[in-house]
Subunit: 140 residues, 2 copies
DNA sequence: ACCTGCAATTATATTTATTACAAATTGTTA
DNA sequence: TAACAATTTGTAATAAATATAATTGCAGGT
């Protein structure tokens, strides 16, 4: 199964994922990659994103609103989604904490727990400022 | 906005959610509620599930594989998804830990963090046993 | 350099998931 | 119980993701 052949398209997709922090959806990746590969198909993008995720070269993030998002950063880290602008930000916690969360969960579950994802909710700096201006127009 | 009118359909959906621990998808809820309301429409199920989630009377769980799932338990708790059978189980951690995770995240994010969801991955007891039998048939 | 096999891509179709809308119905209030 | 508003229904539309058949293109061998 490790029989992956090189492909420019997949390489470009990975390249793009690694150089952006916007956690794009498959469709966003498609629109972007199209510029270099005008006739790449959306199916190819989906397949390669999932391939990369399966091989551990990308992360798939599911959110309750909107389609799945992808992240080229594969080291252990978390995500914060802004309730306001819906942007997804990276967030890192100490390795210790990450592991201790798994351990803690394992102790309370009738089975094994080996990993987890966390999606935090909040408001990003941008939107905090924006909201502040909206509510206090005099401040402008 | 708190202008919600009573409806049998919504009541039945909530009732069902509260009495199952299987974390059903909208479609599963639909198939089940259909028995009592043979001509309920799928749209009604979706709208009410989202209404309930918005009002905090249910929780919407997004997973990377398959559609969103819903949970009638609304107290703070987490979920473990079995990599094998894909079932979703409830998992509770101390209130302290839950809050400390939020606080920790807030300290590392340029903005505010007020809540989070965790999806744990592992293998449930059932599947651990099943796999064991598959690999060591003599044990049967 | 040129076959050749196999994996990847493309283009298209299909499935699945979800939302939108107009008409009919039902719950609530006076 | 009449009227108003929110809800449901049935259907259509959109969005998200996967499947498939035909074609392309990389990699190894001659």
């Amino acid at each position: 199964m490790a029989n992956l052949k090189y492909s420019r398209q997949r390489a470009a997709i990975k390249e793009y994922l690694c150089h952006t922090t916007e956690h794009p959806t498959a469709d966003t990746v498609y629109l972007h990659i199209r510029e270099a590969f005008p006739n790449i198909s959306l199916g190819t993008v989906y397949r390669n994103l999932n391939l990369l995720a399966d091989k551990g070269e990308a992360i798939k993030i599911s959110t309750p609103d909107g389609g799945d998002r992808f992240d080229g950063r594969t080291d252990l880290h978390y995500h914060v989604i802004c309730r306001d602008c819906k942007r997804v930000y990276d967030l890192e916690l100490d390795e210790q904490h990450i592991q201790s969360i798994n351990d803690l969960a394992g102790q309370h579950f009738d089975g094994t727990v080996d990993s987890h994802t966390i999606l935090f909710y909040g408001t990003c700096k941008n939107c905090l400022n924006k909201n502040c201006l909206d509510k206090n127009p005099k401040m402008r």
